[in-house]
Amino acid sequence: MSYVGQSMPMMTNARLAAGKGMFVDDVQLPGMTFMAVLRSPYAHARIRGIDVSAAEALRGVLYVATGREIGEQTNPIPETYDTAAVGAKGVSWYALCVDRARFVGEAVAAVVAEDRFTAYEALDLIEVDYEELPAVSDPEQALEPGAPLVEPDWGDNLMASRDIRLGDPDTAFAEADGVVEGVVKSARITGAAIEPRGCVASWDPYKEALTFWDSTQAPHAVRMYLARTLGIADTSIRVIQPHVGGAFGLKLPTFQEEPLCAYLSMKVGRPVKWIETRAENLLVGGHARDTSFRYQAAYKADGELTGIRLDVIADVGAPSALCGWGMSFVTWYCLPCVYKCENSETHLRSVVTNKCPWNAYRGYGKDAASLLMERIMDHIAKATGIDRTEVRFRNFVQPDEFPYPQVSGAMLDSGNYPGALRKVMEMIDYEGFPALQEEARREGRRIGLGIAMELTPEGCSMPGSLMLNGTDSTEVRITPNGNVIVLTGITSPGCGNETGIAQIVADALRCDFSRISVVQGDTETCPWGFGNYSSRSIIIGGSAAQVAGDEIHDKMRQVAANMLEASADDIEVVDEQFVVRGSAGRGGVGFEDVAREVYSNPHGKNMEGIEPMLQSVRQWKMPNVYHQPEKQGRFSAYPSWPYGAAAAIVEVDPESGHVKILRYCLVEDAGTIVNPLLVDANLHGGIAQGIGGAMFEQIAYDESGQPLTATFMDYTLPTAVELPRLEIGHQQTPAPFTPLGTKGVGESGVGGTLGSLCSAIENALPEVDLHLTELPLTPSRIWEAIRNAPVPAGAAA
């Protein structure tokens, strides 16, 4: 039997469900001390001086560090995403602000104390002499002449800017039958993982070695960043990723606190623990998505999209070493998503403001691209009177056109977009909906149906990057007792890829699943890899596991053939027995017999000419990443292009603007599915976070850059009550470029929520020409939009 394709519970379930997981705050070491961070109360301020004497004098305080010391003793944190390589502006970002704080919450000083309470108490005793500077929190204002500068050396607040013309947009607009235009703005959001950030640094002054437990996604990258920041050899650092309570991209390296904690452990010569509070997490744990689009779309009378003019403003917050700002480029790169449109003119601006920096968050800008395209499709449908689904069918890249070269340079690997849309229309009974809607209307209820596609490219590989560099490795070892250890460079922050990889290896080795154990997240034991990002674990780590497993299986098959005095080509494996083909049940050698033979008789006749041991470490890189445009004619960082078709039914209370989601269906194409249970679980999470960003969540600041959403009281997350039962359908178009045909699924489910919910709410109130332009779709915004909407001519009052 094959394990790939089976729903198997996550290998870590029992331990986690029993509350016996080992998260970073569970790490207990003798002599542990605690770090607390003093954060800027100002959005922008010069630090004229810091008096730490009272804090140092507090009983139990071991060390107080300020930016001056950090600036002298450490290096800037290396950029995760090389700004210079793409013509963007960068900054030297240290583990503490050296002379200027640029957003509320930026780390200004740090205390190490014998216990947490003393560390926090000491923060109150640090006297910082701030000179408040003008701040800017609105990206449009930040672009105006004379606006306060986040980085005075830059001369403006533009981190990166791109003017991109593709095809012939002028002709497309001149020859269009019509043009729709509009604006849409997505909210600033964050992932709100159940476990905030945290780390434990333990410096051994005698070995001159650092052990670093980190709630991170990328232990190897953290090791490299820490080594560079601290100026020590990466080989003297061991990074261990314990269980991680959710990451969603926001735990990619590296924030100020990680090198800060490591530095302070070196200073005090004792282990230092730092655990972020929820309030700190909302303040400085990385934000995302805050993007606005002003668009025009040219169309033909039959609904064909022929041209796009686009002004994109991404508010990336203060510049840092984090990779989040790259999301603004990815948004552009995905366009026009699952549709064909060769003519476009895009003005893309990544603007800095005095707010928390962006870090990567599930969706990584792809979600915003899908939102824009689905709004355009709905508007063309409205303008032409053609059914919303029909407009989409008309503009799709067709199934026989893959691999499809998008105008952006992207090469869409495979898919069947109309197939997915048809399937989701069946699931939600699209044809039957008007009758349902009419029936509800008679009962005084207003329901609407929305449709949206999502495109979620995965497995990102950026040239010149030591973080986002698509490759990975997996080692498979079989012990003399016949057990299997898999060590991977990819990691699992709770999404279950260890289980999927074990399934892949069990199949490759033709052995029982129970033999497999998986080790992840330890730089000392696991081979090099970039960890968990861009839904790469199964496509890249899984592919490396597949080839490593295949290699060992080939060796075992040869040894078994020698033991059975047969040809390896004639060997098959039935119930872990290597047998001569067609002779199952009549002799053969077992999995453990072969393992024992390899280890115990390396010089025997069955091992003649065969390398000893059963161990293989194999690397994987995707063949369809294009980094040599001069030779390959294109640049494409994403090798895997999963997509989905979403359909939502909502009930709108027009008096209050309150919305209840009644049904949510998603048909997802993640290629070959390794574990349907875990794929669905990932999709449930993605949809839930998508609905959060579409309808509930927003990080808000006032004009002076003071945050308004300091707690979950103000940063509204959906609960189980707000979420409908999620209905998942699958379409499997195997990826042509991975051994198993797998695609990523970790970020899927997010993108489709945004457009489908806008679409559904507008559809619920056909008597007004409702245009929803800003996420999240809060009751007050919907109520305002209803009040401001024109009543279309001829509509019944």
Partner: protein
């Protein structure tokens, strides 16, 4: 932010609690369920030097339904108000309001006295208490004061309670035979603070509406209404509610205009519920 150290007292009777408050001065804070105070301390918004817990004070957690009023001890938890048969019978809107406070954990810990003393504008009880004409009983060094709920709440987390007093009881008049009550609220998600909430008390042609969340302190308005009001009658309810909410405020959940409009919508819904629920 974690709290710095503070004194913690667990008096066994009310007089000891009052003495502690008198001794320690205004920096001493009273702890009941802790569902508002503990988060405020953890966030660094409140830094008490002394905390006096009422959780061991006897006699504050009873519900007495023997008279014309329900006498609800200040330490009665929300969960008990949801399920108590006397409250469900005699003040059903109060039970309805309690049922949507926070989540299960909050309802198991939080107390009616704490909610009243804290006086968060969005608290679910407040519109019910003003609509019913409840009385807040407080005790202090000068003795007992019985304060009408309609006068007790002064503004955002501001009441007539002085620093040396403790809310000991909430008295809610029993619904007369044939009268009805209802509670309705708008919140973004289950368990979140209300954007607007309203309670209605309907007895014959008398219709009393309490409105909270939209305004800094609960307001009350009264009008005469037919026994089966039509749309125009209900629109008069909404109009009265909007007019009572001149002080509606802005925040991330909605503008003052939105809040005022929602006060109207939810007042009307509360009245409809009250009419349906009439005995």
């Amino acid at each position: 932010m974690l709290a710095a150290g503070f004194e913690f007292h667990t008096p066994a009777d009310l007089s000891e609690a009052l003495r502690l408050l008198a001794d320690k001065g205004p920096e001493a804070k009273v702890l009941a369920g802790g569902m508002s105070m503990v988060p405020a301390v953890n966030l660094g918004l409140l830094r008490p030097t002394c905390v006096v817990s009422l959780n061991h004070v006897s006699g504050l957690d009873s519900i007495d339904d023997s008279g014309d009023e329900l006498r609800i001890g200040a330490l009665v938890r929300h969960a008990r108000i949801v399920s108590d048969p006397a409250i469900r019978q005699h003040a059903p809107a109060l039970a309805a309001a309690a049922s949507v406070i926070g989540d299960v954990q909050v309802r198991n810990r939080g107390t009616i006295g704490g909610s009243v003393a804290h006086a968060d504008p969005a608290a679910d009880y407040l519109p019910v208490l003003v609509a019913f004409g409840a009385t807040i009983v407080v005790q202090g060094p000068q003795g007992t004061r019985e304060l009408p709920a309609r006068e007790f709440f002064l503004g955002v987390m501001l009441t007539q309670l002085t620093a040396d007093e403790i809310v000991t009881e909430v008295r809610v008049p029993k619904l007369p035979p044939g009268a009805g009550s209802g509670y309705a609220r708008l919140a973004r998600v289950e368990g979140a603070f209300a954007i607007a909430n309203a309670a209605a008390f309907v007895d014959g042609s008398r219709c009393v509406i309490g409105i909270g969340a939209a305004v800094p302190a609960p307001v009350v308005t009264e009008l005469a209404l037919g026994s089966q009001p039509d749309d125009a009658g209900l629109e008069r309810v909404a109009e009265a509610a909007r007019a009572a909410c001149e002080d509606a405020y802005d925040d991330l959940s909605g503008s003052a205009g939105y809040r005022r409009a929602m006060a109207g919508v939810y007042a009307r819904r509360a009245v409809s519920l009250a009419i349906e629920a009439r005995g």
